[in-house]
């Protein structure tokens, strides 16, 4: 740009087209975009607002127009009730159209001006549009888009003219090269002129610079305008969407009305036919009855006349004949007079009170202004993880054409066990298409169904969907947690009677309060026990959640795990009856009492011969360390054994156990390191008070240490293909104290 601007001779000619280029006229020429220039927009708004205000006093009258619709219809129905229905139908539809039209377009116009006002007074808006007559107030249902475009083309045309006007002044006459720009007068002048005439005292700058300034200014404005154009384009497309939506909605409403009115008219016609037929039948029946009576009446009359004549004849007869006939006559007459002469009118001539029943029509009429009763809603299957232990979130959907005022959501627990016994049902009314149902029982199936309702009535019930509440939180069995430096076994109670899908274990390092512990999760645990790998010498908070289709339960109460040393429990099931385990679970006592007469019967779990108990070590192939406090005069055995070590044999007597045994006899200490019944010959000069035991699966070793002196006593090399457990035995009365959770001393790492 700068380069071109520097070429002065061409400047005059080339400037206008160059500048034109910046306006992106192609944008404005596009008919597909409904652009509204800011100036146009504000002007329009002003124009619209004015009639709106003037129409304010007429508000009451306008508001009545809506009510008129209802009354008009009622009137028409009454008016045409006994007249020709078809005519009515046609007329009705025709009349209806403009009425709808009034309410259809105003929102559209309002949106363009001021969306916020739309809701408040759309009726006035409608009036306002008609009043302003801007060219789109009269748009019919067809071709309104074209009209809209024309309207925009109109505004657009005007704007581009304005821009042209703005540009033209720069297009100076080019006879003489102007080279400076008078800032004061805002016109370009020739350098020579500058020194005299009216520009003498004025500030001038080189024309190039002036040109650049002007261009820069223009560019800035261009940028703003472009932004505005984009905004307006977006706005216009939004308007189009609204336009279409409104059109669709009203179209649907039209159809709705049409079908309703047709239904009513059909009903009326049918009623008319029925009535006419009934009337005709009644008429015929009455006339027939009357005619019959008339006929029989005539017959009676004839008989009477004949009798009169006969009597008269008899009166003129001879005495003898008279007497004879008179007797016969008197008989006949007596008989005749005995027969009743019916002079009651069999059919009432007056018209019976015929009440016309229009209740069903009225109902139909009423439903025109409400809507159809909704169809059955569709209840959704349960969304994963949407439930809690006491609540589920039930969702359903309606058919888009339905208008629904509220839903009736019903549910009852699903119980397989007692189908005969009806479970209590619960029903609630909700406005939304979802509902969080609370106060439910955890991990329980509930059957849900929903009906929709509006003024017109109640929909059929939806299908029934089964939702499941999340389980209740499990309970960690803290006392049974086993751990070593690299792992822990956590077990818990389900907390739910029904089975759950799985459990999730969450762990947070508790050591660093500032670090706002990152929570790790172990998911998909099928049983109530899990082994988690951990970092050595840390403290962890452990939580467990139970999961089912409905979602996860709340967290269990936390349990704390320290991965310092190993932590195990003594297994009471293995405990020889002569041993007692202290309350804290870590002191093994063989009391001084006299030994019972006989040993317990051999078993697979419980030690029966050697007076021993087994610990329950975490099954993890790492390193484990624990310590045992002993008395140096005590006879004891400590070590490890497989779970299935023969319980009726001494520890170390077989190839399933590895042990250190101490015996004290005649003031001599004997230390044996027993496996398969053999021991190396090892003498120890300082008798340990506390024995450290290191079990190292990785290196297949079991080592014993004197804790107080750090002295290494012995190391077994043992093939541990399966997991072993600590074991402790007391060959004489006394006690052993087991120390868990002891950090592994450094020196043991050498073995």
């Amino acid at each position: 740009m700068e380069e071109e601007a520097g070429e002065e001779p061409r400047l005059g000619r080339s400037a206008p087209p160059k500048d034109f280029r910046f306006y992106h006229m192609d944008l404005y020429d596009s008919e597909d975009r409904l652009q509204i220039f800011p100036e146009e927009n504000t002007r329009m708004r002003r124009e619209v607002v004015q009639p709106e205000m003037t129409s304010e006093p007429r508000g009451a009258g306008e508001g009545r127009a809506q009510r008129d619709l209802q009354e008009e219809v009622d009137e028409l129905v009454h008016l045409y009730g006994l007249e020709d229905d078809h005519e009515l139908g046609d007329e009705f539809v025709d009349d209806n159209m403009p009425i709808i039209g009034v309410s259809e377009y105003p929102p559209y116009a309002m949106k363009r001006r001021d969306q916020a006002r739309e809701q408040r007074d759309w009726r006035f808006g409608g009036e306002a549009v008609e009043a302003e007559d801007m060219g789109y107030g009269e748009w019919g249902p067809v071709g309104q888009c074209q009209d809209l475009r024309e309207a925009y083309r109109y505004t657009h045309g005007r704007s581009s003219e304005e821009y042209e006007c703005y540009v033209i002044p720069e297009e100076e006459d080019e006879e003489e090269a102007v080279d400076v720009f008078c800032v004061t007068c805002k016109i370009p002048v020739r350098a020579i002129e500058k020194d005299f005439e009216e520009h003498k005292e004025h500030e001038v700058i080189p024309l190039n610079k002036a040109l650049e300034n002007a261009k820069e200014e223009i560019h800035k404005n261009m940028y703003k305008l472009e932004k505005q154009i984009i905004e307006m384009e977006n706005f216009a497309s939004h308007l189009e969407e609204v336009f279409i939506t409104v059109e669709e909605n009203f179209g649907r409403q039209e159809q709705n009305f049409e079908s309703h009115y047709n239904e009513i008219l059909e009903t009326l016609a049918q009623k008319y036919e029925e009535k006419i037929q009934t009337l005709g039948e009644k008429k015929k029946e009455k006339l027939e009855a009357l005619y019959e009576q008339l006929v029989s009446c005539g017959e009676n009359l004839d008989t009477c006349k004949e009798l009169m004549e006969t009597i008269e004849e008899v009166c003129h007869e001879e005495k003898v004949d008279f007497i004879k006939d008179a007797v016969a006559m008197a008989d006949r007459l007596g008989k005749f007079l005995k027969t009743k002469t019916d002079v009651e009118i069999s059919a009432q001539p007056d018209f019976e009170d015929q009440t016309l029943d229009f209740s069903d029509v009225e109902q139909l009429m009423g439903s025109i202004n409400t809507m159809l009763a909704p169809s059955a809603p569709v209840i959704n299957p349960q969304a994963p993880n949407s439930a809690t232990g006491s609540s589920v979130r039930v969702c359903w959907s309606l058919y888009s054409d339905d208008t629904v005022e509220s839903y009736q959501l019903s549910y009852r627990p699903v119980q397989d066990s007692s189908p005969g016994k009806d479970q209590a049902e619960f029903t609630m009314t909700v406005k939304e298409t979802y509902c969080s149902v609370t106060n439910l029982v955890p991990n329980t199936q509930y059957e849900f169904w929903v009906t929709a309702q509006n003024r017109a009535g109640l929909s059929p019930s939806s299908e029934r969907a089964v939702y499941l509440t999340a389980p209740s939180p499990p309970m960690i069995r803290s006392k049974e947690i086993r751990s070593c430096e690299e792992a822990a076994v956590i077990c818990w109670e389900s907390g739910s009677l029904n089975p759950v899908d799985s459990y999730t274990l969450e762990l947070t390092q508790a050591e660093m309060p500032g670090a706002s512990g990152v929570t790790e999760s172990v998911v998909g645990i099928p049983t109530c026990e899990a082994l988690v790998q951990l970092q050595p010498r840390q403290s962890y908070m452990i939580f467990v959640r139970a999961l089912n289709v409905g979602g996860p339960s709340a967290r269990s109460e936390p349990a704390t795990v320290h991965t310092t040393g190993s932590y195990f429990h003594l297994d009471e099931d293995t405990c020889h009856p002569w041993l007692t385990i202290s309350e804290d679970g870590f002191t093994v006592l063989r009391s001084e009492r006299k030994t019972p007469a006989r040993e317990p019967p051999p078993g697979k779990t419980r030690f029966t011969r050697c007076v021993a108990v087994m610990g329950n070590l975490i099954p993890f192939r790492g390193r484990h360390y624990w310590e045992v406090e002993v008395n140096e005069r005590l006879d004891y055995t400590v070590g490890v054994a497989f779970e299935d070590v023969p319980k009726q044999e001494d520890l170390g007597a077989n190839c399933l156990s590895w042990c250190m045994r101490h015996t004290f006899a005649s003031s001599r200490h004997k230390y044996e390191f027993l496996h398969n019944g053999t021991t190396p010959d090892i003498r120890i000069t300082v008798f340990p008070q506390k024995i450290g035991v290191l079990l190292d699966y990785e290196n297949s070793r079991l080592s014993f240490f004197n804790v107080d002196t750090s002295q290494h006593l012995y190391t077994f090399s043992c093939q541990l293909h399966r997991f072993v457990h600590p074991c402790f035995s007391l060959e004489k009365p006394g006690r052993l104290k087991i120390h868990n959770g002891i950090p592994m001393p450094n020196h043991v790492t050498f073995y």
Binding site: R683, I684, T685, V686, Q711, H712, Y714
Partner: protein, 282 residues
């Protein structure tokens, strides 16, 4: 104190070297072996002194025990001196295998003609460590000592006579109570004179009785089929009894079927190296 390198061989990533130097204590040229583990290239390492048994030179241990792998793993400098002064032309020094050359017994002789040269105790506890500390990348604060037979005796007395100087001590079939065994009686009367009270400061079992109780972890391996055990040369039971009484921690392992040879040593050498490493690398 100039060192002369005699040999150098790469072994388990480190270097097995032999040096010769003029010993002040012993008044003769002495050879010693030193193993520099790979870790010695980058930093100071602990030093372990190995004292060999009767008739041995610095060569036996380095060529027969197979200690290199363990020393390399634990990063220990292992120093193996000779067992006596050599070439001192003392009358009778080569007459028997259990006295004189190759049988210095790690004592400082007080009797003529031995007292000028036979100062092995001072040599292994003073001169040699100073030489090593000055010439090799070792940490003077971390040293241990072990040995075999006569060297086991030497290791025990060095440790027991210098509480705290050695972090740990161990021995293979040590002569535990030399004042009561034929080897000890012969050597001590030769080097120290007939006054048996002067022998006791070089007797491990006696030293234990006066040991002040500084922490010392003693590991002893003993072959059960060791001929010298049954001959009453080693007498470990006396030492164990003394240690038990004084509560000095000993683990004594009587190894079934093993004899007095380097085969026995090589079987358990790794345990001993680890025993020292545990204290030196703690």
């Amino acid at each position: 104190m100039a060192l002369k390198q005699v040999s150098s061989n790469k072994c388990f990533g480190g270097l097995q070297k032999v040096f010769e130097h003029d010993s002040v204590e012993l008044n003769c040229k002495m050879k010693f072996a030193v193993y520099l583990p790979p870790q010695a290239e980058t930093g100071k390492c602990p030093a372990v002194y190995w004292l060999s048994g009767l008739t041995c030179t610095e060569q036996n241990f380095i060529s027969k025990s197979g200690y290199h792998q363990a020393a390399s793993e634990h990063g220990l400098v292992v120093i193996a001196p000779d067992t006596s002064p050599r070439g001192c032309s003392i009358k009778g020094e080569d007459e028997s295998w259990d006295f004189g050359t190759g049988a210095g017994f790690y004592v400082d002789a007080t009797e003529e003609p031995w007292k000028t040269n036979y100062r092995m105790y001072s040599y292994v506890t003073e001169e040699l460590p100073q030489l090593i500390n000055a010439n090799f990348p070792v940490d003077p604060q971390r040293m241990s000592i072990f040995g075999h037979s006569m060297g086991g005796h030497g290791a025990l007395i060095c440790a027991l006579k210098n509480p705290g100087k050695y972090k740990s001590v161990s021995a293979f079939a040590p002569i535990c109570n030399p004042v009561l065994c034929p080897w000890g009686k012969k050597a001590f009367s030769g080097y120290l004179g007939t006054d048996q009270s002067k022998w006791k400061p070089y007797d491990a079992t006696h030293l234990v009785k006066s040991y002040p109780g500084s922490q010392l972890d003693i590991l002893i391996d003993q072959g059960k089929d060791d001929q010298f055990l049954s001959d009453g040369q080693l007498l470990p039971d006396n030492f164990i009894a003394a240690c038990t009484e004084k509560k000095i921690p000993v683990v004594f392992r009587l190894q079934e079927g093993y004899d007095h040879s380097y085969y026995f040593i090589s079987t358990f050498i790794a345990d001993h190296i680890r025993h020292h490493a545990k204290y030196l690398n703690a």
